[in-house]
Symmetry: C2
Subunit: 233 residues, 2 copies
């Protein structure tokens, strides 16, 4: 029996309808998948509802995979039994800074065909737009939640960017974005570059790169917005 394939499906970044995110050939592939792995069932279902006019959500099979629920074995079993499965995170690309990685790793260990679908990646868009080093960069996920540890980490990343000539990328949840921004401009040297990519792909989004000393002169409010930060000394 032929094994199923594991499709990694990036979601839109700002609630854009699916038809504005994917070309027709990709939509056709997604429409043929009947089993999905989602992070939050409600968000996953809502993402799929725009898929085709008469989509019957209750005919689809869902697995949940998140911080609390990590049942990877039955998913691998389904794949080995010949079922194609699509993975949808709450935001962004499965396997980048989210829960999808462990599932993909197990799929690889079981010689399942893993197919990443082209879609929005806020991280990649932020690096492109920053003008900072696209030849050498490191993605560091989230910074520590506790302020003292976070400031220490910011200083470490600033030094690493200088030593390795490597742009340092990190993300933050919207409700902490403003605090992280303020920690950066307070902790970094004035001539260190900071790129803010805010709500990319949304009409109100922007991507700007300035020195920390220049940012200090501006009145920046990015609270509750989706931000990718990049620093480079």
């Amino acid at each position: 029996m032929e094994k199923g394939k594991l499709y990694l499906i990036p979601t839109s970044l700002s609630g854009m309808p699916l038809v504005d995110v994917y070309p027709e050939n990709i939509l056709t592939i997604i429409r043929e998948i009947k089993t999905f792995v989602v992070e939050t069932p409600k968000i996953g279902r809502s993402f799929l509802k725009g898929l085709y006019k008469d989509v019957k959500i209750f005919d689809l099979k869902f697995y949940t995979l998140n911080e609390n629920i990590r049942q990877i074995s039955p998913i691998i079993y389904d794949l080995k039994s010949g079922h194609d499965i699509g993975v949808i995170s709450d935001a962004g690309a499965p396997g980048i800074g989210d829960m999808g990685t462990d599932l993909v790793f197990e799929a690889q260990r079981n010689e399942i065909n893993v197919i990443p679908i082209v879609g929005p990646s806020a991280i990649m868009l932020a690096i492109m737009a920053s003008g900072l080093s696209g030849q050498s960069f490191a993605f560091n996920g989230y910074l520590p939640k506790e302020q003292e540890a976070r400031v220490k980490k910011i200083k470490q990343l600033e030094e690493a960017s200088h030593k390795l000539n490597q742009a340092q990328v990190f993300i933050e949840t919207p409700y902490r974005a403003q605090y992280v921004y303020e920690d950066i401009i307070k902790s970094c040297k004035d001539n260190t570059y900071l790129s803010l990519s805010v709500d990319l792909t949304d009409e109100k989004g922007f991507s700007k790169t300035k020195r920390a000393g220049e940012w200090k002169k501006e009145n920046v409010d990015i609270s509750k917005r989706q931000v990718v930060f990049i620093i480079q000394k």
Copy 2:
């Protein structure tokens, strides 16, 4: 006068027609741009020919920007004069591992609105599909061309992946891909993971992650193929 916008337009990875790469709303944006920055004029023009039925390539204005030609000032001047400009690399996403970064940096310094368009990034797809650390990874561009320096670099990256718990990503030109692969499986420890993402988005493409010791038992021929390598100890 309102400044023009700088659009960063990723190309398809395997010569797919433009209409299979972009949703309709993005195609509409690209069709309205009349000035383009290309890496190799022939490749850039060929990419744009599929854009719309009656595209008149000779009505479009082209700037060339590559290793030999680096005239950024007239492009910035055009942007400041209100012209929208699209950047198209020979392959992949402008600003990621290519010549676009310097132009984007200057645009940022001149407060031009930089708009990264969602499109294929072989690097991001490879990280997604690898199952290796999507929470912490570094992109290192190309390795040294000379074998001794390359082997040394591979060992450094293997150690860095262990020390920082960070997946190490790099790329190579197709004609050197097989040599780099052989250097990796010879130099790395048997239990170090190596992910090969080969000709992604092409029908004959694949993405596989195995331990170096497992790869050694296979007969791998990736010569003249587009490969993204990821190692993690």
